[in-house]
C-alpha cells in the first residue's frame, strides 16, 4: 500500500500545547513540510517569537531560538549574517510583529534581509489572554476593547502585507488564510515560493497567514473559521502583493 499522507519529518512527534481549533498547527506543518520537501531541515534556523508560539521550537525539527518580544527580525538578521547559506525564518504573531516589533520588521524589509517571515495574523493577542492587537478588527471585542475596537481611540487595523509591499526590499509579499482546504493549499504554495525567494537570495520574503483563535474569540473552531472568512478576509484581502519574476 502506498501512503498518501504522512507525518512530516519537519515536525517532532509531540502533541502541541495549542488550543483546539487553533491554526498554528497547520501553519507549523506547512512550513516544516515545505522545508522537508526541499531537504533543508538540516540547513534551517528558525526564530520563535513571544506569544503562543514562543515554544514552537518544541515542534519544529530544525535548530531554533527564542527572541525577545518583537525582535525576531533583528535576531534573524544576526543569524543570516552568521550563516549566509542557510535557510532562516521568523515565525511571529500580530502582537509581536505588528505592535512591539513594527520597527524591526520594517527595517528587515528595507534592508532586503534574505530570510522569510511567517506572520500569523489572528487579530488578537493569544498568549496574554485576548487583548486588542494592531490587527484587531473595528468593533471586535477583546479584553482591552470590551465595547469593540473604536477607530477614534485605536485607529484602523494595520494591513501589514500592504504596508511592507511598499518597501523595495520586500520582494515577495503574499497574504493567505487557513480557513479552508483550498486556502490551505494556496498557503502552502506561497510558503514554497517564499522559500524559493530565499534560496535564490532575492530579498526579504513575507507570508501573512490569517489564522483563528477560537479561545480568545470565544467561538467554536468551526465558527471561528467562518468568522475569519466573513470578517477578516474582506478587510485583509488574500493574494500576492509582490513576487519576483524568478519564482513566478
Amino acid at each position: 500500500m502506498k501512503p498518501i499522507f504522512e507525518y512530516t519529518k519537519g515536525m517532532r512527534e509531540q502533541d502541541t500545547h495549542y488550543c483546539p481549533g487553533c491554526t498554528h498547527g497547520i501553519a507549523h506543518r506547512l512550513i516544516m513540510e515545505s522545508l522537508d520537501e526541499r531537504n533543508a531541515l538540516g540547513d534551517t534556523i528558525g526564530v520563535c517569537p513571544i506569544g503562543c508560539s514562543v515554544t514552537a521550537h518544541q515542534y519544529f525539527n530544525v535548530d531554533s531560538c527564542e527572541a525577545a518580544h518583537g525582535r525576531a527580525p533583528a535576531v534573524a538578521a544576526g543569524i543570516r549574517r552568521a550563516w549566509p547559506e542557510k535557510y532562516v525564518f521568523t515565525y511571529q504573531g500580530d502582537g509581536d510583529l505588528a505592535s512591539i516589533g513594527a520597527g524591526e520588521i520594517v527595517h528587515a524589509a528595507l534592508r532586503g534581509e534574505k530570510f522569510t517571515t511567517f506572520f500569523i495574523n489572528n487579530a488578537i493577542y493569544g498568549m496574554t489572554g485576548g487583548q486588542m492587537a494592531p490587527t484587531t478588527l473595528l468593533g471586535q471585542k477583546t479584553t482591552t476593547s470590551v465595547d469593540g475596537r473604536k477607530k477614534e481611540i485605536s485607529g484602523m487595523p494595520l494591513r501589514v502585507a500592504e504596508m511592507l509591499s511598499t518597501i523595495d526590499g520586500a520582494v515577495f509579499v503574499e497574504r493567505v488564510a487557513l480557513d479552508s482546504p483550498a486556502h490551505i493549499r494556496s498557503a502552502k504554495k506561497a510558503i514554497v515560493k517564499a522559500l524559493d525567494v530565499q534560496e535564490k537570495r532575492l530579498g526579504f520574503s513575507f507570508v501573512e497567514i490569517l489564522s483563528t483563535c477560537p479561545t480568545n474569540w470565544g467561538m467554536t473552531p468551526v465558527k471561528a473559521q467562518a468568522w475569519l472568512r466573513e470578517n477578516m478576509i474582506p478587510y485583509y484581502p488574500l493574494g500576492n502583493f509582490r513576487c519576483p519574476e524568478e519564482v513566478k
Binding site: I45, D63, R81, E104, H107
Partner: protein, 360 residues
C-alpha cells in the same frame, strides 16, 4: 609585526575586537563612540567579518544575540542611553548563556544627559538594568593600551563563561589618542570548528545531530529555579576567578583613592601632587567592576590609613561597593563631579587634602 601606532581610543577598540576574532559587529550611531562604529564598518569586512548598522540599539543587541546563537563572535558598542536600550538584550543573552562583547563609551546622564565623559553608568553595567538574576562581567580599562588588551580578553572571558562582557570606557578614552600596540592575532573559527567547539550553537543540524534550541523561557517554575541555581553557580565561580585590580602605594598611605578608568589616571597625578605636599596617598584601581575586587581592600594599611576616597564622575555609585568592601573599618568619602565635568588632578588633590584634615 605588532608595532606602536597612534590611535584614537574608539578606533583602537575596534582594532582590538577585530584581532580578538570578532565575526559580527552591530551598531547604531551615538556620541561619543561613533568612530568605533565607523571603524568597524570600514575594517571588519576587510578582515573577513560582517558589519551591519542596525535601526536602533534594541535591534543591534538582538542582531548580536542572533549572531551569538549561531556560534559566531558577536559584538556591539554604544554609549550610555544606548546601553540602556540594550538592557533587554543583555538579560536575554545572559539567560540564554551566549558569549557577547559590548563596549560602552559612557557619557553623562540620566536621560539623554550629555555627551561629555561620565561614569554614571556604574550601576547600569554592574547591577544590570535588565530583569532577573543575572550578571555581566565588566572590565574598566584606564588607558587605551589596557582597553585593547581587555577587549581581547573580553572575547575570551565571554566565550569561556558563555556570558556577556561589557568593556566600560568613557568619552575621554574614546576620543583621546595614545600610542598603542595592537597584537596581530586575528583568527576566525571555521564552521566545523564552531560546530565542534560550541555544540549548542545554531549551525543547522545538517541531519547529523538532533536540532539545537537556544532558549530563555522556562514556564515551569521548578525548571526556572533550577536554571537560576545553575546560572548562580556560574556567577559564584566568576566571582572567585575574575576579580582584578591594581594597587598603588598602599603601604603607609594616609589616604587611599578608589578610582576606575579615566579617573584613576587623574588620581595617579593627584597622588603625586599630594606627595609633594607631604601627604602619602595610594590607590586601589578596580579593573573588573563586576565582579568587584572586594578583597583588595584587605591590603589597606590600617595603621596609617585614615580615609578612603571613592573618586567618581557620578553622584556616587561605586562608593556603595567600596563601603561593602571597607565594612565600616575606615571612613569612606566621595569626591565627584558629574554631567561631563571632570575634576583636574589639582582639584582632586585639594579636595582630598581638605577631607583628610577632618580626620587628623
Amino acid at each position: 609585526m605588532s608595532e606602536k601606532v597612534l590611535m584614537k581610543g574608539n578606533e583602537a577598540f575596534g582594532a582590538a575586537a577585530i584581532q580578538a576574532g570578532c565575526d559580527l559587529y552591530f551598531g547604531y550611531p551615538i556620541t561619543p563612540q561613533n568612530e568605533l562604529t565607523e571603524y568597524m564598518s570600514r575594517e571588519l569586512g576587510r578582515a573577513g567579518g560582517t558589519f551591519a548598522q542596525a535601526e536602533s540599539e534594541l535591534a543591534a543587541i538582538n542582531m548580536a544575540y542572533g549572531g551569538a546563537c549561531a556560534g559566531k563572535k558577536a559584538m556591539v558598542s554604544s554609549a550610555s542611553p544606548g546601553i540602556a536600550l540594550m538592557q533587554e538584550g543583555f538579560s536575554f543573552i545572559a539567560s540564554a548563556e551566549l558569549p557577547l562583547v559590548a563596549v560602552n563609551v559612557s557619557r553623562g546622564g540620566p536621560g539623554i544627559g550629555g555627551i561629555q565623559p561620565g561614569q554614571a553608568d556604574y550601576r547600569q553595567v554592574t547591577r544590570g538594568g535588565g530583569n532577573g538574576d543575572y550578571h555581566i562581567v565588566v572590565y574598566a580599562p584606564y588607558c587605551i593600551q589596557e582597553a585593547v588588551d581587555l577587549i581581547i580578553r573580553a572575547f575570551d572571558t565571554a566565550g569561556r563563561y558563555r556570558n556577556p562582557v561589557i568593556v566600560l570606557a568613557d568619552g575621554m578614552m574614546g576620543q583621546m589618542m595614545e600610542p598603542v600596540v595592537i597584537p596581530q592575532i586575528r583568527r576566525q573559527s571555521s564552521a566545523s570548528e564552531i560546530a565542534a567547539e560550541k555544540p549548542w550553537a545554531l549551525t543547522g543540524s545538517g541531519g547529523a545531530r538532533d536540532r539545537n534550541v537556544v532558549r530563555s523561557l522556562w514556564l515551569d517554575p521548578q525548571q526556572l529555579e533550577d536554571q537560576n541555581i545553575r546560572l548562580d553557580q556560574k556567577y559564584q565561580r566568576m566571582k572567585q576567578e575574575l576579580p582584578e585590580y591594581q594597587s598603588v602605594d598602599l603601604e603607609g598611605a594616609e589616604i587611599v583613592f578608589t578610582a576606575f578608568g579615566t579617573v584613576s589616571r587623574i588620581a595617579s597625578e593627584a597622588i603625586r601632587l599630594l606627595g609633594q605636599r607631604g601627604i602619602r596617598a595610594g590607590m586601589i584601581r578596580p579593573i573588573t567592576l563586576w565582579p568587584f575586587p572586594y578583597h583588595a581592600f584587605e591590603q589597606i594599611d590600617h595603621s596609617t590609613t585614615k580615609l578612603i576616597v571613592s573618586a567618581e564622575l557620578s553622584m556616587g555609585q561605586m562608593i556603595e561597593d567600596v563601603e561593602l568592601a571597607v565594612k565600616g573599618r575606615k571612613p569612606v568619602r566621595l569626591i565627584q563631579r558629574s554631567g561631563g565635568m571632570v575634576f583636574t588632578p589639582a582639584e582632586l588633590a585639594a579636595r582630598a587634602e581638605e577631607l583628610l584634615s577632618q580626620y587628623q
